[in-house]
């Protein structure tokens, strides 16, 4: 129910590339794919995932500029924020920011919003104005990955020491 | 006005009820064990640090396959062995457990296919020196047999 609604709402972010059936099949095929083969970075778009396998329903990859728009859609649909995190795709020279959202009611829908950033200029607008709870999550992602959240009120290390200038979760970090 | 007095009244009752409970507990005997003077038996499955299991000859069962060292998440096991002339199995010459880094997960015991490791029941481990926790398990095994 809510999944359908959210899907339609999120699809408005991708006017050109409406999700095709091929997106879904590529994903499920990925399980049987040869692991040696380099996996191409995904194109922006919305993919409906198999909940039984992945544990979430909707997976939207958006451009960094669209984050606010996408999160506003979820806020209006009364989603709550689970977490924000990053993934370092060092082979593609990219950083990914992952936003997890879920809802409080029994109409289950887990949504993942993700965006790929250039590894050397990782900047993404903050969503603290929409979700106040994103504050710590963004600070954490910033200190672990070095991703800048533009407009964040207090982007200083949270878990690491205050003067930490290293980003331990990057794949090329050596302690 | 009624609410004011009933609150005082029921509040007082709740206080006396609480005091009744603590009084009941007061006359019951203590449940604690005065630890250094009395101890409780350790349960069978207690996971202490590991010890080597010996065979009938008093030698370690270990065949120096190194699976435990590889399974250990913290890398706290170092072991070495030699293969004497004419023997089929390797003989353990060194088994060091760095207990300062051990997290008592039991992966080593689980990974062992030769029934060579077991958990000890020892829990009174305290020292001021770090070196006291670098256990030479082979030495401990020989000490036990002495």
């Amino acid at each position: 129910m809510i999944c359908e609604k959210t899907k339609l709402a999120l699809q408005t972010l991708f006017p050109k590339a409406a999700p095709t059936a091929s997106d879904v099949t590529i994903d499920t095929d990925a399980r049987e794919k040869d692991k040696k083969k380099k996996i191409e970075p995904r194109q922006n778009g919305l993919v409906e995932r198999d909940y039984a396998i992945h544990g979430y329903h909707l997976d939207a990859q958006v451009a960094a500029g669209q984050i606010i728009e996408a999160v506003t859609i979820l806020d209006e649909a009364e989603f709550f924020i689970e977490a924000i995190t990053g993934v370092d795709w060092i082979k593609d020279n990219q950083l990914e920011v992952v936003y997890d959202f879920c809802r409080y009611d029994f109409d289950l829908c887990r949504v993942v919003i993700r965006t790929r950033l250039d590894r050397n200029a990782a900047e993404v607008p903050t969503i603290t104005d929409i979700y106040a709870g994103a504050n710590w999550h963004e600070r954490e992602t910033h200190e672990f990955f070095g991703i800048k959240f533009l407009g964040h009120p207090n982007l200083i290390p949270l878990l690491l020491p205050e003067d930490a200038d290293f980003h331990p979760l990057l794949k090329d970090f050596k302690a | 006005m009624v609410a004011y007095f009933s609150e005082i009244f029921y509040g007082l009752i709740s206080l006396f009820q609480g005091m009744a409970i603590t009084f009941k507990e007061f006359i019951k005997p203590p449940v604690t064990v005065s630890y250094p003077y009395e101890t409780l038996p350790m349960c069978d499955r207690f996971r202490g640090h590991v010890e080597l299991i010996e065979n009938e000859d008093g030698k370690a069962n270990c065949v120096v396959c190194g699976l435990c060292a590889r399974a250990c998440p913290s890398g706290c096991i170092t072991l070495a062995g030699v293969k004497p002339e004419g023997e089929k199995k390797k003989v353990l010459t060194k088994y060091i457990l760095d207990f300062t880094r051990c997290s008592l997960c039991g992966s080593c015991v689980e990974s062992c296919n030769f029934n060579a490791l077991e958990f000890s029941k020892e829990y009174n481990l305290a020292s001021r020196r770090k070196e006291d926790f670098i256990f030479d398990l082979l030495g401990r095994l020989e000490d036990r047999n002495r």
């Binding site: 544990g55 709870g133 878990l159 | -």
Partner: protein, 372 residues
């Protein structure tokens, strides 16, 4: 009542609560700007025992990481292990025998009762009552004894394995668990008379630290923090996993939005957990505790996987990104208290310090779990 007062003067001072303070239960620091006894602004500083479990997850193989999860939350360790093994099983496609799932559920619920008992004691101690802590610890000790007899450790269990369990429960455990349930119910009655009904206790919590539904949503609060604000959200019901759909239990929801509501939710949860344990013991099927076929080296296929579980402290999520290797490519641990603690800063404005610390206690903080 702790309504925000009009500030009489702008003369404020900074009070540094923590990192060592009796009310913070660990190394948590809150920088409070105070006007007399009223908090004007608060800033929580965390990270004092940050151990980077997430990086450890990337460096260790899957089985080697098992014991890390119990180090996250030392009071309700099994719930966290449960989330981790579930996500890896889901990713690697490992089937879990039914008996193992039932035992897992029983153990997690026992652990939840133990965790809530400790919270209950510590919370009342925050409010100045000492004896309930000791009574709670007595009951908790029984649970720890039972868990120790099965798992081999008292606090940082390493009990769940991918696909099953470390070892099976015996009749002795089942017997002592059955004996424990009526005992615990009796104790609960005692706690309610001694603490819940106490006028001083109620006066301290009623109407204190109101949290609206909206605040909970914006911060992603879960567990009793959300349920005390009238949000019916329990991962066990909303997103059933493991064998929880088989059990008949209720999710206590209170609409008071205050510290008392959060207290009541947790106390009722103890009772609900006892119900689950009771049913689990009745329904416990026979059979193996490890699957017959299990890959020797766990290498989940490429992709990302998410699993949320309801731990004693709320919705705990594990996001696993696998590149098909022996170690996870990325392992994100979403800890519930992290979100619950986050709303403290905003919500404690204008509160008296004594109320704020009671509020902090009602959030059920375990600092290593926030800091990871």
């Amino acid at each position: 009542m702790s309504s925000p007062i009009e500030l009489q003067s702008d003369e404020t001072f900074i009070l540094n609560v923590g990192p060592q303070h009796p009310a913070t239960h660990g190394v948590l620091r809150v920088k409070m700007e105070m006007n007399g006894e009223y908090i004007v602004e608060a800033e929580t500083v965390i990270g004092y025992i940050h151990r980077m479990h997430e990086k450890m997850g990337e460096l260790k193989t899957y089985p080697q990481y098992l014991m890390n999860l119990s180090r996250m939350d030392y009071l309700g360790a099994l719930g966290y292990s449960h989330g981790h093994v579930l996500v890896v099983e889901k990713a690697a496609g490992i089937e879990v025998p039914e008996r193992a799932e039932y035992i897992r559920a029983i153990m997690v619920e026992l652990n939840r009762v133990a965790s809530h008992l400790f919270w209950f004691g510590a919370f009342v101690m925050d409010l100045g009552g000492f004896s309930p802590l000791m009574y709670a610890l007595q009951d908790r000790e029984h649970i720890l004894d039972m868990l120790e007899a099965v798992t081999g450790s008292r606090l940082t269990y390493c009990y769940f394995r991918y696909g099953g369990l470390y070892n099976d429960v015996d009749d002795q455990f089942i017997e002592s668990a059955r004996k424990f349930i009526p005992r615990m119910r009796k104790s609960l009655k005692k706690y309610h008379t001694l603490v819940t009904g106490n006028i001083i206790f109620r006066k301290r919590l009623e109407g204190v630290a109101p949290l609206s539904k909206e605040t909970c949503r914006k911060y992603g609060a879960s567990s009793a923090v959300a349920r005390g604000s009238g949000i019916n959200f329990d991962v066990r019901k909303n997103e059933p996993y493991s064998v929880y759909p088989e059990f008949d239990f209720d999710v206590p929801v209170y609409h008071g939005c205050d510290s008392l509501a959060r207290y009541n939710v947790r106390m009722d949860e103890i009772e609900q957990s006892l119900r689950i344990i009771e049913q689990g013991l009745d329904k416990l099927p026979g059979g193996p505790i490890m699957p017959k076929k299990k890959p020797k080296i766990i290498k989940p296929p490429v992709g990302d996987y998410y699993q949320a579980v309801e731990t004693a402290r709320g919705s705990f999520g594990v996001r696993l990104v696998s590149d098909g290797g022996k170690t996870p490519y990325r392992l994100k641990l979403r800890s519930p208290t992290y979100s619950n603690m986050h709303l403290f800063d905003e919500s404690c404005r204008g509160m008296l310090i004594s109320d704020a610390l009671a509020f902090m206690g009602s959030l059920d903080l375990v600092i290593p779990e926030i800091d990871r």
